[in-house]
């Protein structure tokens, strides 16, 4: 599907063009109120704040912060309704419990029209308070990306993420770097089953649908490393399909991207490591720019040594783990599409340092 674009029906146009109302409603619950207070009530304490987590209570982009604002509005309305209903229930049970000594029936009340009207209308008011900022954020967050937004093509695979940067003309896997303060337009795709791209603190979530291109646009506002994970069930190793988003300063990002876009130097193709890589048929699925290895079935390995993790964000990238992976991929990632090539120890001993050297 192409970009949904801005195609509101008349009602939503009316609602979302009352400019003051949504802003006013969102101001009802200032950001800090939710972000600071709710953690204190204890939920978030358990949910684990700080460090690199998946917590949805910490937003570090415009999108995730705005979502938190609406969540805050609903949270307080919900809390009030919860206390109201449970309060009435508990009071009624305590107050009207039968003693067993009653001789007459209680008053046989069949209903009360004003009360019925009351509890029909009151929720409408509350729902309007939720719906107006909701609808305004739907249109705002799904608007066309700016012309200068950084485009990242994110493709879900079984079971890893491919990230392509058309602006710099390179591909990488499982680690997505984005610049601070510049809008990013992630174009989500899949060529197999449905996956979902979920990075709670930066990008929220959207599905990677086969045959469609979905978008997430956001502007990150804090440098750091953020976690992400596939959220749509995609068979065997769904639980092990993770990724990272690194928010870098503009300079760092540019440096990283230019380095990733560079091909490996001449000697790599002639090295004994590459010969072993080729001899072990790795070339059938993997690409290393600057060599004859150009297949793109598996992750691009041009700069694999520069990545912090392997096997889609589940193992630290070191020689011991690379060795484990090459020995039997399916033992680490059940159902892995990378076959067990039955490599000899000699082959592994040559290939592992070679891969680590691809910085």
């Amino acid at each position: 599907m192409n970009r949904p674009g801005f195609q509101p029906s008349v009602v939503w146009l009316t609602l979302s063009t009352v400019p003051a109302l949504p802003r006013f409603l969102r101001m009802l619950v200032p950001r800090f109120f939710f972000a600071r207070l709710v953690p204190l009530i204890g939920l978030c304490l358990l949910a684990g704040c700080g460090g690199s987590t998946m917590s949805t209570f910490e937003g570090h982009s415009d999108l995730t912060k705005e979502i938190l604002d609406i969540y805050g509005v609903i949270f307080w309305i919900d809390l009030a309704l919860f206390l109201l209903v449970q309060g009435i229930l508990i009071v009624a049970v305590v107050k009207f419990r039968a003693t067993g000594k009653e001789t007459t029936l209680p008053e046989q009340v069949h209903g009360n029209l004003p009360m019925e009207i009351g509890w029909t209308v009151a929720p409408v008011v509350l729902l309007v308070i939720i719906t107006v900022p909701t609808v305004s954020l739907i249109f705002e967050s799904q608007a066309q990306a700016k012309d200068d937004a950084l485009v990242v093509n994110a493709v879900g695979k079984q079971w890893w993420f491919q990230f392509g940067y058309p602006e710099y003309d390179f591909e990488t896997a499982n680690e997505m770097h984005v610049p601070l303060g510049r809008q990013v337009d992630v174009r989500l795709q899949s060529d197999n089953v449905i996956h979902a791209f979920w990075a709670p603190q930066i990008a929220a979530k959207r599905d990677m649908m086969p045959g469609r291109v979905n978008h997430i646009t956001f502007t990150a506002d804090k440098v750091g490393e953020y976690m992400g994970q596939c959220a749509e069930y995609c068979a065997d190793s769904h639980a092990l399909m993770k990724f990272r988003i690194f928010v870098d300063t503009a300079e760092d990002f540019d440096k990283w991207a230019k380095h990733q876009a560079s091909a490996q130097a001449e000697p790599v193709a002639a090295s004994a490591g590459f010969q072993a890589f080729q001899g072990a048929t790795c070339v059938a699925c993997h690409a290393i720019e600057g060599t004859s290895s150009q297949s793109r079935i598996g992750p691009d390995l041009t700069h694999v040594g520069s990545r912090g993790l392997i096997a889609s964000g589940i193992l630290e990238n070191n020689e011991a783990n690379l060795r484990l992976w090459l020995k039997d991929p399916a033992a680490i990632k059940p159902g892995s599409k990378m076959p067990n090539l039955n490599l000899t120890d000699e082959q592994i001993n040559t290939i592992v340092p070679f891969l680590s050297s691809l910085k």
């Binding site: 674009g5 509101p8 029906s9 939920l43 358990l46 949910a47 987590t53 998946m54 917590s55 949805t56 209570f57 995730t64 609406i70 609903i74 949270f75 309305i77 919900d78 309704l81 919860f82 209903v85 449970q86 229930l89 009624a92 049970v93 009207f96 419990r97 039968a98 009653e102 029936l105 209680p106 008053e107 209903g111 009360n112 009360m115 019925e116 509890w119 029909t120 929720p123 409408v124 729902l127 939720i130 909701t134 739907i138 967050s141 449905i194 979902a196 979920w198 979530k205 959207r206 649908m209 086969p210 469609r212 976690m227 959220a231 749509e232 068979a235 065997d236 769904h238 639980a239 059940p334």
Partner: protein
């Protein structure tokens, strides 16, 4: 008094709970297999549902054990995926739905003053077909050690294409799932039409639609949802079957299809299905709360019309399951608003229930405790539902454990609590015996505490970013403690269920029947009948004057109902094996597709034989005397 025309005790033992002493075991068994008595069929539905409920519960316990700590490997990932698929499928189609059907069957004819449903043998056919579907869904568990491919359904209960296509699920697992669901669909549709026609045509004189008990009303709404929504999944499954077995591309983008089509068809069924699961429980609670408050249901017409409104709106909200699929801003906004609208009739119901108990004389029996627990827990589920009704918020909650918490509050805290209230409430009517009230309190305590221990932390862990359907997770994300608590809670529920089953068996074996016709001082017509009721329910069809006939008459608040003097001809259809035959034939025919998926010629032969058997069953059914 009237003399029943077909009150032959050899085939219609007076007691529905057990055979009489002098009957042979075989004859007793045969009388259950051949029965077309709505009460016996209700009990059969209830016992099968209980069996499958325990099966689904065991699956849940294995899932929870695996997730107790990070990185556990109690079962391998493929088995884990099969277990959560079967847990969802079992609880929805084989647990809650037939449990509701047990109540529809047992109670609706009694509540409207009828002798049976309008098509008793079709009713038997529905049950046997349901059982065949349940068996076909679960048979892969037995089969799996003997075959060299995946056979246990493992595509999720939602079965999203393209994962369920041949390319990504090459074994027979999805074929079993498709076959089982198709069979269950036919069973539900047949029952749905049966009850619609029954409720519209067999009401006792004087029972206008608004005098009907709320439980019967909710049954009526549910049957309309069934007959209107099940065709959607039937079509979706047929298209999937064609994709898998004949190489079509309905859901495959490379061939011009679209996986989103599956999601639209599935959720156009799937969301009404949610109300198919919850409305019967709402009906039960609307009976239990007034009885044990000794007051009428507050605003009964509003409760009824809210139920109808929920049913209608239920067809206009399906895409809220698809907010993350990229439908576009206009669709997201529209479905957000329709979804929010459902909160209004739901709220109306909750407030009417609260107003019902307010000012009453509350007798806190186990049934009442479960009904109050329903109001309490269902409210929680409703409130968290409002959160992901907002699409931007859903972008953080969809497919996380927050959603798992939400729908368990609705379907366990709601539907299952309601059904348990119903069991405690109507068990004396069904058996003439009471379930233990003291054990009942213990069971309620265990289930209530266990339920909240299991499912409340899922809100937290979901907000902390834990996705659904993952067979393991890593340490250090704040997920360990909530998961440990959840697992402990699951075992508390298991103990509650275990005690419940022990008490159920104990009470069914007890000899003395002390309940009497109206032990709870209730209001609807089933409390006129004996406990357990006679085969033909009513000797004389009652005439109804109010919406609380029995309560009004007992307390002199009005005429309530009357039993006209005179004789009535009572026709009860003779027992028959034909419904069972036809159910087997239909299931066999559909299972032939399964065989065809592995060996085409064998499948065709099987289908032809099944067709022959189907024709035989149909014609012998029509030609059977006494019909």
């Amino acid at each position: 008094m009237a003399t029943p025309a077909h009150a032959d005790p050899a085939v219609h033992p007076a007691s529905t709970a057990a055979g009489s002493e002098n009957q042979s075991y075989g004859a007793w068994l045969l009388s259950w297999i051949m029965t077309s008595d709505h009460k016996r069929i209700g009990i059969l539905y209830g016992l099968s549902a209980l069996f499958f409920f325990v099966l689904g519960g065991i699956e849940a316990l294995i899932i929870r054990t695996q997730l107790a700590r990070p990185g556990l490997h109690v079962v391998d990932p493929a088995t884990y995926n099969a277990l959560f698929t079967m847990h969802g499928t079992t609880m929805i189609f084989l647990g809650v739905m037939p449990f509701s059907a047990a109540f529809f069957n047992y109670l609706v004819p009694l509540q409207i003053g009828a002798r049976d449903v309008i098509f008793p043998r079709l009713n038997a056919f529905s049950f046997w077909l349901f059982l065949c579907g349940g068996i076909i869904l679960n048979v892969p568990f037995v089969l799996t050690p003997f075959v060299d491919m995946r056979v246990i359904p493992d595509g999720g209960w939602f079965g999203y294409a393209t994962l369920t296509e041949k390319e990504y699920s090459p074994g027979a697992s999805i074929d079993f799932w498709v076959c089982g669901l198709q069979i269950l669909g036919i069973a539900s549709m047949a029952a749905g039409f049966n009850f619609i026609v029954t409720i519209f045509n067999l009401r006792a004189p004087g029972m206008t639609l608004l005098r009907m008990p709320v439980f019967t009303w909710m049954t009526l709404v549910v049957q309309f949802l069934v007959v209107l929504s099940f065709p959607c999944i039937t079509i979706a499954l047929v298209l999937l079957l064609f994709d898998r077995q004949f190489g079509t591309h309905f859901y495959i983008p490379e061939g011009g299809g679209d996986p989103l089509l599956w999601q639209h068809l599935f959720w156009l069924f799937g969301h009404p299905e949610v109300y198919i699961l919850i409305l019967p429980a709402m009906g039960i609670v609307s009976e239990v709360l007034p009885t044990f408050s000794r007051k009428p249901l507050f605003g009964a017409p509003f409760v009824i019309f809210s139920g109808i409104t929920i049913g209608l709106l239920g067809f206009g909200v399906w895409s809220h399951h698809m907010f993350t699929t990229g439908l576009g801003a206009a669709a997201d906004a529209s479905f957000a608003v329709t979804t929010m609208l459902i909160a209004i009739p739901t709220g109306v119901k909750i407030f009417n229930w609260l107003a019902t108990i307010w000012g009453g004389q509350l007798r806190l029996t186990t049934a009442m405790l479960f009904a109050l627990g329903f109001v309490c827990m269902f409210t929680m589920g409703g409130l968290s539902g409002i959160m992901h009704a907002s699409p931007p918020v859903d972008l953080q909650q969809q497919d996380s454990y927050f959603v798992v918490a939400h729908f368990h509050y609705v379907l366990f805290g709601g539907a299952v609590f309601g059904l348990l209230a119903g069991i405690y409430y109507w068990f004396p009517k069904m058996s003439g015996r009471f379930l233990s009230e003291s054990w009942g309190r213990v069971i309620f305590g265990l289930v209530f505490v266990g339920f909240n221990t299991t499912f409340f932390p899922m809100h937290i862990v979901g907000a902390a970013g834990m996705p659904r359907r993952i067979f393991t997770y890593e340490a250090g994300l704040g997920w360990e403690i909530p998961n440990m608590i959840e697992t402990a809670g699951a075992f508390i529920i298991a103990f509650g269920v275990l005690f419940f089953i022990i008490d159920l068996i104990r009470c069914m074996m007890a000899k003395e029947m002390t309940a009497g016709p109206n032990p709870w001082d209730a209001s609807s017509l089933e409390w006129v009948c004996d406990s357990p009721p006679k085969v033909h329910n009513f000797d004389i069809t009652p005439v109804v004057y109010s919406d609380r006939p029995v309560f009004d008459k007992t307390h002199g608040l009005g005429p309530g109902y009357s039993l006209p003097v005179g004789h009535e001809h009572i026709h009860i259809p003779p027992p028959s094996l034909r419904p069972l035959f036809l159910a087997i034939a239909v299931a066999w025919f559909l299972a032939s597709w399964l065989i065809a998926g592995q060996a085409m010629m064998l499948g065709v032969v099987s289908a032809l034989l099944a067709t022959a058997f189907m024709l035989y069953s149909c014609f012998s059914w029509f030609l059977e005397p006494g019909h």
